[in-house]
Structure formats: structure tokens, C-alpha cells
Amino acid sequence: MDGRALKDALGAGLARVAGDVDLINQLNVFPVPDGDTGVNMYHTLNRAWQEIADSSSDDVSEIAQRFAQGALMGARGNSGTILSQLLKGFADGLDSAARLTPALLVRSCRAAMERAYAAVSQPVEGTILTVAREAIETLEADNPAAETLDDVMAALVTAAEESLAGTPQKLPILKEAGVVDAGGMGLLSFLRGLQGSESVAETARARPRGAAPAGAVSGIDGEFGYDVQFIMRGAGMNLSLMRRDFEALGDSVIVVGDDTTIKVHLHVDNPARPIDYAIAVGAALDDIVVENMQLQYQTLAAQMPQPTISTGPETASDVAVIAVAEGPGIQSVYRELNCARVINGGPGKSPAAEDFISAVEQVPADHVIILPNDPNIALAAQQAAELIPERAVTVLPTDTALHGISAMVAFGDGVDSGADLDTLAKKMAEAAADCRVLSLTQATRASEIGGRAINKCDYIAFIDGRLESAAIDMESALAQAMPKLVTDETELMSLYFGAALSPRDAGRLIEHLSRRFAALEFELIDGGQSLYPILLSVE
């Protein structure tokens, strides 16, 4: 296989993942609305694709290295980050070879897996890592002398399928949720695309026409963003001449009919051009339908707004903090606490490694501390730190934006008291660890967690990642979880209400809570966060 063939295969892999995004997203262990594994893996690969989209190199190592470099920069979420490490390991495993042979493919897959394991400080089994490892181990054991690349790929895909099916046995939360690992699924989807086989959706899922995210594969199948259909009515029209002219204008051209009625369908980047042409030849147009094929892609993109980085006050300190936070109110709290840069992101909206890199580059401080504020964002932040070894960057793996706020208070405390960097980082980590956070949202599907049945749309409350209550109304879900949150030591309860909740409703909740916990102090903050109507921390 040469570089061009590898490029085609990688493009097919990206296209496959693009088609499977929703399916992968839905494999969320908790029925919460922040499943973004599919979107993250897709964006990671799409960023990788940009590096090779214009390349016509026939050198597999060059293509693989450039693709891997793009993936490292674009890595989002834990699975996207691990995928980028797999790609980098694979590219390094090629060892500058210009052609890919079956033996080299096997060797490079092992290098890919080993690099991905090395990149994760505490590898968890039952995830994308396991699928990568077991697939390559099975491949090595069962097909020591695979003769063609197709044989190797087929064996790899089969082994990955078997491994993925086994992930619930390795990771209890998967078993309980009745799903396979989303990242593993994403990897399988990519491998199948490379191999040239079908979607991971075994069953033929009805998809609306044009819903395969055409924008996502732009650069692979062409650049045509609009699906245009119309009927031309006239007299003595030359069907074959018009078909030739429409074919010159766009892609996927269908021109059928007779000399009085012609049905036209095509994909174009400018919908005005075929319509102008039809009018110019004197036809009357009927049933004009113009669809933007980018729309689904844009829906994906809307789930993943380009992270904006907002600037906080410049401080005299030689240590600066960069945090990921979402919701205007929560972001304001960060700025007030002297956070140098706030990257817009959070659950379900993972920034890419390169977003962290550009934030770090904007901050002149000698040392930068990053608060990823989500377990699924930390790995990309860590990868960013490793991609810019010339900058001193520490990632403090905070779990939520509220844990991060506790760390920010400790940062201010440390700076005021003249703490050195190590003390500062230690105090911030301790403050985050001491902080307890309740997150309340609505179930996106029926589920059963820890023997507790959850109906779709139930309000569910998590404390430090554990489901603590489920109820049909917010007040009850909150009330049931409280005993797990409030202890004799609790003094202060801070309620950040999300965009879905009105200040009045939030005020009423606080009123209930303050009657129940009369000894506590309360504060109510208009956080404006999405997905979680209530985030609540106690100190």
C-alpha cells in the first residue's frame, strides 16, 4: 500500500466515524446528556484529515505522520486523545517506511497500542485501550502470517469486534448500563472504515436523505454543500445537452425526463448556479428544493462550538491558571478569581488539545496551571502540555467547574499568602479534593443504575460522579441526595443554577434548602450552564 491508498483509507475511516457519531454518542454509561465520545473522535479525526487533505504523497509514513500530528493537536475527550496516541504510535511504528506491508501493519498496530497505553497514567480496562490491545494480541496470535493487507485488516476488525463485545465484562459500569464502551466502538468504527466495510450500526438504521454528514466528508467526496432539486418545464428541451452541462456544475447529478419536463438533482457548492442555468435556457422552474447538506454537520458542530477563550485579568503573578468552564455566570466567577484564560467547554463540549495550547500561548506567565474541570477533558489537556514541552504546564485533574472554583479560591489564597508554585498547586489540589459537588440533570433515557430504576426525563443527582437520587421532580431529587452531601462539618452551600432554570425557581429551591439546613450559609449564583440545571457545592 502506498501513501495515496493510505490517505483514501484514512478518509474512509473518518467518513465511517462521521456516520456513526450519534450511535457512539449514545453509548453513554449514565443517561445524562453529555455523551460526546462520537463527536470527540470525529473532530479528532477531522482535524487529522486537514493535515493530509491536500497531500498527494505516496509515502505511507509521511501520510501517517501528518495525520497523527493533526490528531494530536485536534484530540478531544479521552477517547479522542487515546485515538490520537494510537495514530501517533502507528505512524512511528512505520519507521519511515514508504510502503505498507502486512508484516509492517501488524508491527505498527502493536506500536500504536503500546504508545496509547504509555500515554495513560492509569489505564482502565474495558475501554478503547482494551479493544486496541486485544485486537492486536488476537491478530498476532491467530494470523502470524497473514498474506495481504486485507487479511490483516479483516482479522483486526473481527478481533476488535470480539473485544468490544467483551468490554461490559471488564468494566462494571458498562455492564450495569447495558452498553459497550463508546470509545471502543469509535475505534471499531474507524477500523471498519479503513477496511472499507459498513457502519457499526448493524441494523439498517433509517437515515434521512442527505443526513450522512456530507460536510464531514467534504474533501473526500467533493466540496458540494447543497443538495438542489427542481423540475424544469418547457418545450423542446435537449435532455442530453443539459445533463452534460449540469454534470459540469456539480456532483451526484441526476437529470431525467423528456423534452417538456426534466427532473434535476445535483450537489453543488452554489445552489444559484444550476438554477440560473435552468432559467437561462428558458425553462420555468417548479418544486425547487435546496437543502443545506452541511446542516447535520453543523448540528454536530453546534454540539461542539469552537471553544472561545476569554481573557481574565492580568495578574502580576508568575503563575497563571487556565480553566475550562461553560455558562456565562460560572465563567464570570472564574474571571473574578483571576483565572487568566477561560476556555469555553465542559461536559459534552470537550476542547481540543490545540485549544489548550493556544490558551497557554496567550498567557505570558512562567508557569501555567490548567483546570480541565471534567474527567473526559483532562487527558487532552495533559496531551497539550506534552506537545509544548518548552512551557511549564501543570494539569490539575479537577472533576467539575465547581471543584475548579474551590481550586481558584485556593489559588487566590496562595498568591495572597506568597506561596511558591509547589505549595500553590498542592493547595489547589487539596481544595478541589475537599470540595463536594452535586450535579443534577434529567435522564436522557430509561436506565437502571445500582438497582435504581430511572425513567427517561427523571431528575437525577450525582455526587462526585455517583448517582445518588432519581425522582420525577427536581425538588425531590435534590432533597433525596442531600443527606449524602451535607455533613456536620458543612458550613456553606453554593447553588449555581443553569440556563434551564429561572432565578425565581432557583430562589425557591434555596428557600427550601435553607429551611431544612438552618445552620448553613447559602449562596445562589446564576451560573448559566447548559445540561445541568443545578450544580451545587458544599464547603
Binding site: 466567577v333 487566590g412 489564597d413 495572597d416 450559609e521
Partner: protein, 286 residues
């Protein structure tokens, strides 16, 4: 007390109780609080501190504080001279925080500056008080000289620490002071600052989320200064809090530890509920 050659003077921000003031014949010039359209001298009887602090949260417009006028200062110095003072050592609230020193200088020029040494205490409340107290003790001995008194003041200052914890940033913001310090304390979330008076400035030296952590921090800061020669527990309308705090540091508190409701000149800025300490460590005598 007309026999004293060297008299010690201060402004009312020094927070020295009446017993000490009268025992050493210390001259105290009041600063002023402007509240409800009146300018009230902080002279210990024109203004009830308890009542003032009780009313403070609702006062509109918010009270302001004012230095004595140069005329007040001149009259103050003249009365001490008439009382027999050959030299006056006059110790005051820092120039960076108040116009008092400036007024005292102008008053001193009018009253005969050669007899008056004006000292910027670079401190507040009992941080000034310790300097005034030690200076007055020394001035009471017959062979005391001005240079020795000035040197004592300097030494006391070096071994003095003043810390406070504040219930809310609201009063600091209302008072329009310490803007730089209040950076990062904008009020979206509740933060209790830990402040220190150092070198004539009020600085934030820590910020915590809850009052009990603030109290714990104040305790740590106090214990770090032990062994103590003198200690004053300061408060703003929070005597019970101050007494509880004193209990918590009983092991290091000298027997003559004072619990002081601090002057409205300071309390207006930090607000009801605040607790503070002024410490003078034993080392100062060395």
C-alpha cells in the same frame, strides 16, 4: 501629670483603653466619623461604638471617616505644651491611609514644631496602640530621651503584627478603600479575606470560603507570633466572637490581653463581625 517633660500623643485610631491613656497621661486627638449629616469625634463619649455598629449596615449614605483639622491639631499640641510638655512624640495612623499625619504636621508648625516629633506608626488600631503604650512607659522614666523613645517605637513596630478576618467584602467596597486588595473579591461568590496591616498598607494575605476556616487561619497567624509580650483581640460588634477566639488561643495569650471593640474609623471599612488581633512578640525587648 504636669511633671512629665516628654509627652506621648496619638490619634483615637490607636484604640488604647481609657485606663492606659490616663495612667500615662497620653494625649489623644479624636478622628471624626461623618454619619447622618453630622461629624462626630471618636473621643470615647460623643459616639457609642455599640450603637454605631448596630446601625452601620443600614446607614445611607454610608458613613465616612475624617482626619482632625490642622486647627484641631494646633489646639491639641498647644494644650499639651501649656500642660508642661517640653517635647511631644506624636504617633499616628499611616499617611497612606489617612490625612491625619498631614494635619498634625500643619498643626505642629503652627504650635512650635521644634518640640514635636511626629511618627508615622505604619500601623492601625492596636498596632499603633502598642507603639504608643511602650513609648509612654519609657517616657515615664525620669532619664528618658526622645531618641530612645523613637528607637523603642521602631522596635515595637518591627515586632508587631496586625491581622483581621472580615465577614464580607461589602464594607470594604462601600468605603471605597483598598481597591487593589479587593481585586478578585468582586462578590459573585462568598469569600472571607484575611488581611494584614503591614508597612502602612492593608493587604490581603489570604482568602477562604467559610468563617470557621477564616478563624482557623487567624489562629494560626497568631500562634506563629508566640511567645507574646502583648496581645489585643480586636472586633467590630462581635464581642462574643472575640472572646471565643481568645479562648482558642488561651495558651499563648498574656494575662493582660485586652479585648477591644475597634474604632469606627477602622470598623466602618471592615464591617460588623470582623475579628482581628494585634500581637507584640517577646522578641521586641531584645
Amino acid at each position: 501629670m504636669t511633671s512629665r517633660r516628654i509627652r506621648i500623643a496619638a490619634d483615637s485610631v490607636c484604640d488604647l483603653p481609657e485606663e492606659i491613656v490616663s495612667a500615662f497621661g497620653i494625649g489623644i486627638i479624636p478622628t471624626y466619623i461623618s454619619a447622618g449629616g453630622e461629624s462626630i469625634p471618636d473621643d470615647g463619649h460623643s459616639l457609642s461604638r455599640a450603637r454605631f455598629y448596630r446601625d452601620l449596615p443600614g446607614m445611607r449614605p454610608y458613613p465616612t471617616t475624617a482626619a482632625p483639622s490642622p486647627g484641631d491639631a494646633e489646639a491639641f499640641y498647644r494644650s499639651l505644651v501649656e500642660d508642661g510638655a517640653e517635647h511631644i512624640v506624636s504617633i499616628h495612623v499611616p499617611a497612606q491611609l489617612s490625612g491625619t499625619i498631614n494635619a498634625m504636621r500643619l498643626g505642629a508648625e503652627a504650635a512650635g514644631a521644634d518640640k514635636i516629633s511626629i511618627v508615622d506608626s505604619l500601623q492601625l488600631t492596636f498596632g499603633i496602640g502598642f507603639q504608643v503604650w511602650a513609648a509612654a512607659e519609657l517616657a515615664a522614666s525620669p532619664d528618658a530621651g526622645v531618641p530612645g523613645i523613637l528607637e523603642t517605637i521602631e522596635r515595637v513596630r518591627r515586632h508587631t503584627r496586625v491581622y483581621a478576618i472580615i465577614r464580607t467584602m461589602e464594607y470594604l467596597r462601600r468605603s471605597g478603600r483598598v481597591n487593589a486588595m479587593a481585586a478578585g473579591l468582586g462578590g459573585l461568590i462568598k469569600i472571607s479575606p484575611v488581611i494584614a496591616v503591614d508597612d502602612g498598607e492593608v493587604k490581603s494575605i489570604g482568602r477562604v470560603r467559610t468563617w470557621s476556616r477564616a478563624v482557623a487561619r487567624l489562629r494560626e497567624l497568631t500562634l506563629a507570633q508566640a511567645p507574646l509580650c502583648r496581645l489585643a483581640i480586636l472586633h467590630v460588634a462581635n464581642e462574643s466572637g472575640a472572646e471565643r477566639f481568645l479562648d482558642s488561643i488561651q495558651d499563648v495569650a498574656p494575662s493582660d490581653t485586652l479585648v477591644i471593640e475597634t474604632t469606627p474609623t477602622v470598623g466602618t471599612h471592615i464591617g460588623p463581625g470582623a475579628i482581628g488581633v494585634a500581637t507584640l512578640s517577646n522578641d521586641w525587648r531584645r
